[in-house]
């Protein structure tokens, strides 16, 4: 019985968990519920992946209505890839969250925090699972609203401003998206993505569609923080509670990338240039700008969380670059980097969250020599940093390798050189952190710290270990990314 309902269980389980967590109104019980719910969600996600790999596309009709009338959930290799990533990160975040949340959030709000965390997860999974353009908007809003709350729960007063700014920007993005969906509905008369694709075939060259694509792409670009629409992200990540930052940095933008890929490839066809619009050229330009400018800005930051947040914007540039290349290798590289970046950024934010847990600050000036007193935490941060640079032996290397091959395959040799050249910037900002935390004499703050508790170290090191593991034995993620890329490009998985 359960097997046939897997696609919807993916959303029901975290949603039910959110409801129960809210009803419990008790911090520890809410955490337990969240942990169990996210563990169950992860199990569902892996089961789905397994089934997709065995059987191909899985379709599920909500309420038993046909796709013309109702909402259809469609899990293919791409969705399964994202769903596994999001649910696994969510589970690790829950393990991590208990201690971290106790330290950062006042006791009466803890249950709400887990409710929001689970709602956010449910929304993100929903975007990946649904095959309905409007339903995707609903889940986009579910996850976004939960995200605004999560950010606002940060203990820094600036968290409120950051949340407010994200609220406005996110709403603009969602509105643009829904306008685009509306235009598509006008032209095709359906909201089901599968049917839209069928009906679009006869509508090539329609003005309305071009405008729809413009609105959808820019709307999603706001959500995924594509340069220059990224400015909401650094503050939001820097001031949110640590556990929330981990989840958001690793999953929220990634799901937006998934949505963008869905529209660019599945809906608007494999040839992502529509009519006169050189989308791939624009996207390549913006991606390259993202690889360089925010990374350069990261070098001049003093707050480690902000450094990592700005670096996220840069790393998103690599991912969108993979989409823009639009060939099998490049797209594999982009999706793989999406996966790897989630792992490494998750580890990095968990590590800096653990530092905040002990030292109470993420300002680089205060963290001199903290590697002496928190060696395991800082070692995980270092591994993540090396992966951000793309050092061989880490997963970052593998994904950049595929991106470069993709660029060469597309005949863009200069782009391959830019990809590697932009790593120089990562060397600078990672190098600054590594230098301060390891090689400076310990400051007063660092001397009084102890190593982070095991509950924080465990998920952090699972992610850091995965970063190393997938840098050496990359078969599994590469296989997933490659089959997702094949599906996006219209082939068999």
């Amino acid at each position: 019985m359960i097997a046939s309902h897997l696609p919807v269980l993916l959303i029901i389980v975290p949603l039910l968990g959110a409801v129960l967590a809210a009803l419990s109104r008790h911090g520890f019980v809410a955490w337990l519920v969240a942990l169990l719910a996210s563990a169950a969600t992860m199990a569902v996600a892996f089961a789905l992946l397994w089934r997709v790999q065995a059987e191909g596309l899985i379709s599920y009709r909500i309420g038993g209505w046909a796709p013309e009338l109702g909402i259809e959930y469609r899990i293919d290799a791409v969705s399964a890839f994202i769903v596994v990533l999001v649910s696994a990160i969510a589970f690790l975040t829950m393990i991590y969250a208990r201690r971290s949340v106790l330290a950062e959030i006042s006791a009466e709000r803890v249950a709400w925090f887990y409710t929001m965390l689970l709602l956010c997860v449910a929304g993100l999974l929903g975007i990946a699972a649904t095959g309905d353009a409007f339903n995707a908007f609903v889940f986009l809003e579910v996850s976004s609203l939960a995200t605004y709350t999560l950010i606002a729960l940060g203990r820094d007063r600036r968290a409120l401003v950051a949340a407010y700014q994200y609220l406005i920007v996110g709403t603009i993005g969602a509105t643009l998206y829904v306008i685009g969906v509306g235009l598509i509905y006008l032209s095709t008369g359906t909201l089901n993505i599968g049917l839209i694709v069928e009906r679009l075939a006869s509508l090539q060259g329609s003005r309305a569609l071009t405008v729809a694509e413009a609105f959808i792409v820019v709307g999603i670009a706001l959500k995924l923080a594509l340069f220059p629409l990224h400015a909401w992200l650094p503050n939001a990540y820097a001031y949110a509670p640590s556990a929330a930052t981990v989840l958001l940095a690793s999953t929220a933008t990634k799901v937006a990338v998934y949505l963008l890929a869905r529209y660019l490839f599945t809906v608007f066809g494999g040839d992502i240039d529509v009519g006169a619009i050189p989308i791939s050229a624009i996207l390549i330009g913006l991606s390259v700008a993202a690889m360089f400018i925010p990374s350069a800005a990261a070098i001049f930051q003093n707050d480690v969380k902000r450094i990592l947040a700005l670096s996220s914007v840069g790393q998103i540039g690599y991912i969108t670059l993979g989409l823009a290349l639009a060939n099998q290798t490049g797209l594999t590289g982009g999706l793989l980097h999406l996966f790897n970046h989630a792992l490494m950024k998750g580890a990095a934010f968990m590590a800096i969250g653990a530092v905040v847990y002990r030292a109470g600050t993420a300002r680089l000036d205060d963290l001199s020599g903290i590697g002496r007193t928190m060696p395991w935490t800082v070692a995980a941060l270092t591994i993540a940093g090396l992966a951000l640079i793309g050092v061989p032996g880490t997963s970052g290397f593998v994904s950049k390798y595929y991106l470069i091959l993709g660029a060469l395959e597309a005949g863009l040799g200069w782009l391959a050189i830019l990809i590697v050249a932009s790593s120089l910037l990562a060397v600078l900002y990672v190098g600054r952190i590594v230098e301060v935390v390891w090689f400076r004499e310990p400051a007063a703050v660092a001397r009084e710290c102890r190593e982070a508790p095991l509950e924080l170290l465990l998920p952090m090191w699972i992610l850091a270990g995965a970063t190393i593991w997938f840098g050496i034995d990359a078969e599994w993620p590469v296989g997933l990314a490659a089959s997702a890329a094949r599906v996006l490009l219209g082939g068999a998985p």
Binding site: M1, H5, V8, I12, L15, L16, A18, V19, L20, A22, L23, R25, Y60, R61, I62, G63, G64, T115
Partner: protein
């Protein structure tokens, strides 16, 4: 405002019809315009009106914040429970065909129950928002 006799008296007259109208909209939702969302807003409007007239403390005695915090997720829980119940009857999520002896009645029951969930959540959320605004600067 609680000393304005006109408002107080008028409110007393309006409250009961308001609540009754909310119930009407709720139960008539299957056949005509209406449903849990609208009904929830109308019911919440009654509570909010009462709060505006008598003040925050009395209305919170009537509808305490703790109740709202249970109602908000509770409504969602009802909704989901109905949806999940379909699982056990061999249908897809939110497919009510087998909730009753035949498909039409099943759908009717399903929608009816789901709308109750919507009502609970929407009404309590509206009131909670009112509390949040009205209580600003006090807590």
């Amino acid at each position: 405002m609680r000393f304005d006799i006109v408002l107080r008296v008028a409110t007393k007259f309006i409250l009961a019809p308001l609540l009754l109208f909310a119930l009407y909209v709720q139960f008539h939702g299957d056949y005509g315009p209406g449903g849990g969302f609208q009904a929830g807003v109308i019911a919440a409007a009654a509570v909010i009106l009462y709060g505006l007239i008598v003040g925050l403390a009395p209305v919170q005695r009537l509808v305490p914040m703790g109740l709202l915090e249970v109602m908000i997720p509770g409504g969602v829980l009802i909704y989901m429970a109905v949806g999940i119940a379909s699982f056990f009857l061999g249908d897809n999520f939110l497919d009510y065909d087998h909730l009753a002896h035949d498909a039409v009645h099943g759908q009717e029951w399903g929608v009816f129950l789901v709308e109750i969930g919507v009502f609970v959540t929407v009404s309590s959320t509206m009131v909670a928002i009112f509390y949040a605004f009205a209580g600003r600067g006090r807590s």
